[in-house]
Symmetry: C2
C-alpha cells in the first residue's frame, strides 16, 4: 500500500476513535467537530474531506460499533440466559456502546441496517427455539429479544437513582442476576 493511503487510513481510524469518545460523552447534537479534530491531532478540513459532515462521521462511528458488536456476538437462541450474560459483558467492556445507543434513541438516529438484519436473524432463531419447546411461547420472539437487551443494559441505562447498586454488587454478581433474570424470562 502506498504511504499516502496508509496515512489516510490511520487518520480516518484516529478520527473515528476520537469521535466515538465525543459522541458517547455529548451525543450527536452536542458533539463538536473541532474537539474531535483536536483529540485526533487532525483538523476540521480533514473531517469534512473524509466524512462529508458531522452526520457522515457519526454514521462511520455507528458502523464501526455495529461491526465490532456483530463480530463479538455470542448469540445462541438455545441458551438465551448465557447470551444475556454476554450482552451484559459487551456493555461493561465498553460503556460507550450503551451511552451511544441512548443518545441515538433521544436524538432519533436511525439504526444501522446490518444491526436490523442481525436482529431479524436472532428473532427467527428465537422463534425456532420456541417451536422446539426450548423457549417459552408466552411472549413474542421479538419482545423476548427486546427484554433481554433491556435487562442486560439495566445498569447502563437506568437513571442515576440506581447507581448505588454498582457499589453493592460487583460485576460478577450483576452478571449472575442478568443471567438468572433471563433464565426466568425464557424458561417454558
Amino acid at each position: 500500500m502506498p504511504m499516502i493511503a496508509r496515512d489516510a487510513d490511520a487518520t480516518r481510524a484516529r478520527l473515528i476513535r476520537a469521535a466515538a469518545d465525543e459522541f458517547a460523552e455529548h451525543g450527536i447534537a452536542g458533539a463538536r467537530v473541532d474537539r474531535i479534530a483536536a483529540a485526533a491531532a487532525s483538523n476540521k478540513a480533514q473531517i469534512y474531506h473524509y466524512f462529508g459532515s458531522k452526520d457522515g462521521l457519526a454514521a462511520a462511528v455507528f458502523g464501526r460499533f455495529a461491526e465490532e458488536s456483530l463480530a463479538d456476538d455470542h448469540f445462541d437462541a438455545n441458551d438465551l440466559p448465557e447470551t444475556a450474560g454476554c450482552i451484559f459483558d459487551q456493555f461493561e467492556d465498553d460503556p460507550r456502546v450503551a451511552r451511544i445507543a441512548l443518545w441515538m434513541r433521544l436524538e432519533s438516529t436511525a439504526t444501522a441496517q446490518e444491526v436490523i438484519d442481525a436482529d431479524d436473524h436472532k428473532v427467527a432463531e428465537i422463534a425456532t427455539a420456541q417451536r422446539a419447546g426450548v423457549v417459552t411461547s408466552a411472549l413474542p420472539a421479538e419482545v423476548i429479544l427486546g427484554f433481554l437487551l433491556t435487562l442486560a443494559a439495566t445498569w447502563s441505562a437506568l437513571p442515576n437513582e440506581f447507581a448505588d447498586q454498582l457499589d453493592r454488587h460487583d460485576r460478577a454478581a450483576r452478571r449472575r442476576y442478568v443471567v438468572e433474570a433471563a433464565r426466568r424470562l425464557v424458561t417454558p
Copy 2:
C-alpha cells in the same frame, strides 16, 4: 391570595411546563433558556428571578415530575406484575418522563432525594414480600426493583431498532408482555 402572588404562581407554572417540554426534547445541556421563555410567554429575566439559573429551573422540573410520579404511584410489593404494568402506564401516558430519565443518566444529573427515599421504601417492602415467600429470593430486592423499572421502560428506553415493535404490538399487548415478564421474574 393577592393578585400579584397568583400571577407569580401562574408564571412559574407556565415556565415549568415549557421547561419540561424543552428538557425532554433537548436535555439539560441542549436546552435553551430563551426558547423556554418564549414558549411560556415570559422572558429570561423572569426565569433567573424565579429559579436562579437553568439548573435551578431543571431542579424545579424534576421535583415536579418526582412529585407527580410519587402521587400516581401504585406500588404493591405483593403484586409486582401489576405494579410493573402501572409503571408502564406512567411511561406511556407521559413519554417525557422516560426521556428526561435518560437525559439525566447521560448528563449525570442527581436524582431527587424524595425519589431515592421512595425507592428505599419500595426495596424494604419487596424484602418483606420475599421473607413472606410471595416474591423470589433468587435476586436481591433492589435488583428486582431495577429490573422491573427497566422492563417497564423497554419501549421508551430501547434504541430505535425496536421501534417497529410499536407497530406490531399495541399498547394493551405491550402492557400484557411487561406484566407477564414481571410475573416470571418475581415468582418464587
